[in-house]
């Protein structure tokens, strides 16, 4: 299976790998997948209280190259977006950008779920 250049670049030089303080009120964490399924994605956003803009995003992913590239790309896209703009990110945008093959579409779904999970966590902390 040949992967796209963009996918390989995100895999080899992943952007925004790391951990934000999950106990902080302006950090939202999404943890999706399961080790038994071969994919676990943790995606975190840090939201600026004053502006409501996502000012930082970090991820760590256990999974195949497509899962890692999908989460790396997602963090890139999240930075600078408002919560509403972030919610509009669709998994098919990721599929297209990375040219994911059909068997890897679930990786993009996982990334979208992780984004939604992180936002839900942030919102529950800031009702």
């Amino acid at each position: 299976m040949a992967y796209s250049e963009k996918l390989l670049d995100h895999f080899k030089n992943p952007k925004n790998v790391g951990t934000l303080d999950k106990s902080s009120n302006n950090v939202g964490t999404g943890l999706v997948g399961a080790p038994e399924c071969g994919d676990v994605m943790r995606l975190q956003i840090q939201v600026n209280d004053a502006t409501g803009v996502i000012e930082d995003a970090k991820f760590k992913t256990f999974g195949c190259g497509s899962a890692i590239a999908s989460s790396s790309l997602a963090t890139e896209w999240l930075k600078g977006k408002s919560i509403d703009e972030a919610l509009a990110i669709d998994n098919m945008d990721i599929v297209e950008e990375l040219a994911l093959p059909p068997v890897k579409i679930h990786c993009s779904v996982l990334a979208e779920d992780a984004i939604k999970g992180a936002i839900a966590d942030y919102k529950s902390k800031n009702k």
Binding site: L31, G33, K60, T61, C64
Partner: protein
């Protein structure tokens, strides 16, 4: 990319030995006859070549040349043995016993037999991948006609106690078949010493060409017969019709001859390289586990799990240069990891974290040294990215987390 590629996936297929290719070459053009053409020199010469190859192969496994039935490969030989015995002996019974860890060629043939009205018992293996002999004996009943147990496993290299299994089958009066695809040409495989009545194997796992395999069928004490699954001109004593693949068979014969001669020294060399690879990775990378029975294992195989690293992702860190395979089936639609490793009692997570290294005749020490460095870098890279490795390092009990399975 002019870097040399490193091939450590010899259980998938081996390269053709140049000596094999040399032996085969004349049989594509100069000596192109059909071995079944009885009326001219073209046919005679091809028949002679097939006879000679049959002897070379019979010599490797110490059987009579008449007991070798050529097929298109081990999958066909497995199908012929299982379905052929089931049809031939259906008057005696309909029960077959096999293992959960068999190759799909055996398992799917058994599934088909179940649809045809047969009954199949799939025995479990222990944590080392070995069959429990008492469980096997207890599973044999009046209607049992065949026990089918692979000689060596393709994923782990684990070797079964063929002699003890053969004794049980002899005592109980049932036929014993073995898928010996991974074993023949790699370790001594003498079916008559083990009480094996049918044995499937193939050329392309022993440095021969793809597309040619064989089934050994015992001719005396007992005389075993199988119902043909391919009907036509009545080749191979009526058990497998179809024009013989003469160049392939010639290559198969040459590969068998080389294997018989070089197996012992080759195994010593490969065991040294395999042990070096395995030891280095286990020493340099914490939480690395060897899968399967290390005391009963082929010399060229090691199957390792790197905890909290997903196998396919790991492979992507080095697969531009190094070819191995993983028990993580992330590319398949099912997302199911290796059923063989699951049968050994590995959790799904460790099965997803597994890599099989299978060395071969052309593997060099330099390649092993380079591979060690690449795997160590790859595992460390993947662990830096892995949230569950981070949790594990922080002492989080991963079993306590409610995962969102998808």
């Amino acid at each position: 990319m002019n870097k040399k590629l490193i091939y450590l996936d010899n259980n998938a297929t081996t390269p053709c030995d140049p000596r094999v290719i040399e032996a085969m070459t004349p049989y594509f053009y100069e000596l192109h006859g059909n071995a079944a053409s009885r009326n001219h020199p073209f046919g005679w010469r091809s028949e002679e070549a097939v006879d000679y190859a049959r002897e070379q192969i019979a010599n490797l496994i110490q059987v009579d040349p008449k007991e070798i039935i050529f097929t298109s490969g081990a999958t066909e030989a497995d199908n012929l043995a299982l379905k052929g015995v089931y049809e031939m002996y259906s008057r005696k019974g309909n029960h077959i016993i096999t293992l959960e860890t068999e190759h799909k060629a055996v398992l799917d043939s058994c599934k088909k037999i179940e649809k045809m009205g047969g009954e199949v018992t799939y025995l479990k293996v222990d944590r080392l991948g070995r069959v429990n002999l008492q469980e096997l004996e207890d599973a044999i009943k009046d209607t049992t006609i065949l026990v089918s147990i692979m000689w060596a496993n393709n994923e782990t290299g684990v070797i079964q106690d063929m002699k003890a299994i053969g004794e049980i089958c002899a005592r109980k009066g049932v036929l014993f078949m073995s898928d010996a695809t991974q074993a023949v040409g790699k370790i001594p495989t003498f079916p008559k010493e083990m009480g094996i009545h049918l044995m499937a194997f193939t050329a392309h796992k022993m440095y021969g060409p793809k597309g040619v395999g064989a089934l050994f069928v015992n001719r005396k004490n007992p005389r075993v017969k199988v119902t043909s699954q391919m009907d036509g001109g009545g080749h191979e004593r009526g058990m497998r019709s179809g024009t013989l693949n003469v160049p392939g068979i010639v290559g198969f014969g040459k590969a068998a001859e080389i294997a018989a001669k070089e197996m012992e020294s080759e195994n010593q060399r490969l065991a040294g390289l395999r042990d070096k690879l395995e030891k280095a990775l286990v020493d340099k990378l914490e939480e690395t586990y060897v899968n399967g029975d290390v005391d009963n294992r082929m010399a060229h195989v090691t199957n390792l799990s790197f905890k909290h690293v997903e196998g396919e992702g790991l492979m992507m860190t080095f697969n531009q240069e190094i070819g191995v395979s993983s028990g993580s089936a992330c590319t398949s639609a099912s997302l199911e990891p290796s059923y063989v490793l699951i049968a050994l009692g590995l959790g799904d997570d460790l099965a997803h974290s597994s890599i099989r290294f299978s060395l071969g005749r052309f593997t060099t020490e330099e390649e092993i040294d380079y591979t060690i460095d690449q795997i160590v870098n790859g595992v460390n890279h993947m662990r830096d990215l892995s949230p569950i490795w981070e949790m594990y390092k922080e002492g989080v009990d991963l079993d306590s987390i409610v995962w969102e399975e998808h």
